[in-house]
Symmetry: D2
């Protein structure tokens, strides 16, 4: 029997440049290597890069999609959940994650950070929003994963 998965959220925009994608990939890979599953919004950009990193390291990737089409998920998502909830699914991503790592990102990412902090979830920012000091600040993908895992042990 498979053990209960530990779920860490990786959040960020649906479009990003190559440097940001590389960091998201490394975050996903390191989370999978640490035995965690990645929860994300299931789409492109930061989400796709983190999904790929996790999936290529053999990890599970849960994609909570805003729309109703599972085929909208990026190809590295292993469990595609079309929620049909639109942006309200951001609240589900925040709740489903033990801790979250935000990488760059726009308004959707900020909403997820706020929804997570509202519930007291640890959030690590890697070149992302940092509305107050309770959001931890990481200097590298490795550091981001270390900080996130330290909060949930």
């Amino acid at each position: 029997m498979q053990p209960r998965q530990r779920l860490i959220g990786v959040i960020g925009a649906a479009a990003c440049d190559a440097a940001v994608a590389a960091r998201a990939y490394e975050v996903g890979r390191r989370l999978a290597e640490a035995g965690c599953a990645v929860v994300c919004g299931g789409l492109g950009g930061v989400m796709a890069a983190a999904s790929r990193g996790a999936a290529e390291a053999g990890g599970l990737v849960i994609g909570l999609l805003p729309g109703d089409d599972p085929h909208a998920a990026n190809p590295y998502v292993t469990v595609a959940i079309p929620t049909g909830l639109g942006e309200a699914r951001n609240a589900v991503i925040a709740l489903a994650s033990e801790a979250l790592i935000a990488i760059a990102g726009g308004w959707g990412t900020l909403s997820e950070i706020a929804l997570a902090r509202k519930r007291g979830k640890p959030v690590v920012s890697l070149d992302s929003w940092r509305p107050d000091d309770s959001v931890l600040c990481a200097t590298s993908p490795r550091h981001a994963v270390e900080l996130a895992l330290a909060t949930v042990r």
Copy 2:
């Protein structure tokens, strides 16, 4: 037949001091006097003060509650909608409002600002979060209402 109501969101924390409540009251009153209905989270603090201001000026107050009990609404809500969605109802508040006025507030308020901006909705900050320059800055309740109404005409 009653005309379609114009809905302006008023967002802020469920607990606040008397000075903040006075500003929220005035925002609610001015919105009702301008013929707008107030959309809010239906609970206490900023929400209750804005609700009272709008209701006492004869306006309609829509309370989108996070829980499933309509009796959790503050007494000034005229339409109490228990959504049962928890914090995911913040996304509904953002979508239902043509424009939003944020008054002080914590993580829940920040999530609503971000969800509204994600959808391109105008947001006015009155002593609240202002994550970037696209969030308008008001210096008084009167100014906040003027800015909000100017965006939706």
Copy 3:
């Protein structure tokens, strides 16, 4: 100050024939005459007919739309709330209503009946689904409104 509105749900399909629409119109009108606001899905068919009946009698009509565009509401909705939740908004309609009247209808209507009964809400069926005897059976629009109002007094 306006009093707290009593909310009665009227549910049914987004397309219907003239005979069903006439019954939905009468249900909406009688609810408004009894001082209740109508909660519905805000679209066409049964929803539009009930909305028109209520609005023309001076009542308030709350339209909880599945999509994110308030302009999708039928013209008789006085408070258009685009939820962006898709079919998950059916759960909000069930929770927001003190009692519900189902008129004809398809799968969406059945889901609303079931979600309402799950929460112990009274449901009246007027030529609609009646999954078990706890769903009240009405023989006319007048009878449906009488049954619904009797359950919530």
Copy 4:
């Protein structure tokens, strides 16, 4: 890299007798043996029995919980997703599943059947609700799984 999981919903009440639990267990086991992941509400009764069957056969079990506490999941859930959406999560279960098997069950189960049929998802009834002939009728757990898998190939 793990392949995209095929998700089949198993729905039914949070409390059930031993005979129903045995059938749910077998459905879960057979789905896992066929290489499918089980999506369910994550709680007790039919959900727990199906989860156990799937998990003991090495399968993945996605529990979409109504509340906000992941620890409310039954011990056989491998991916616990607290949605915080209340009964609105039933719409997510319906959307996330390629096909659904309903086992006994009450109003919540009926709402999920209706929400699934609304979206054209195949539903198999094993001693459960069968609102119309489009819901397939199974005579055994083995038959239920065969019918469900036949619809999604």
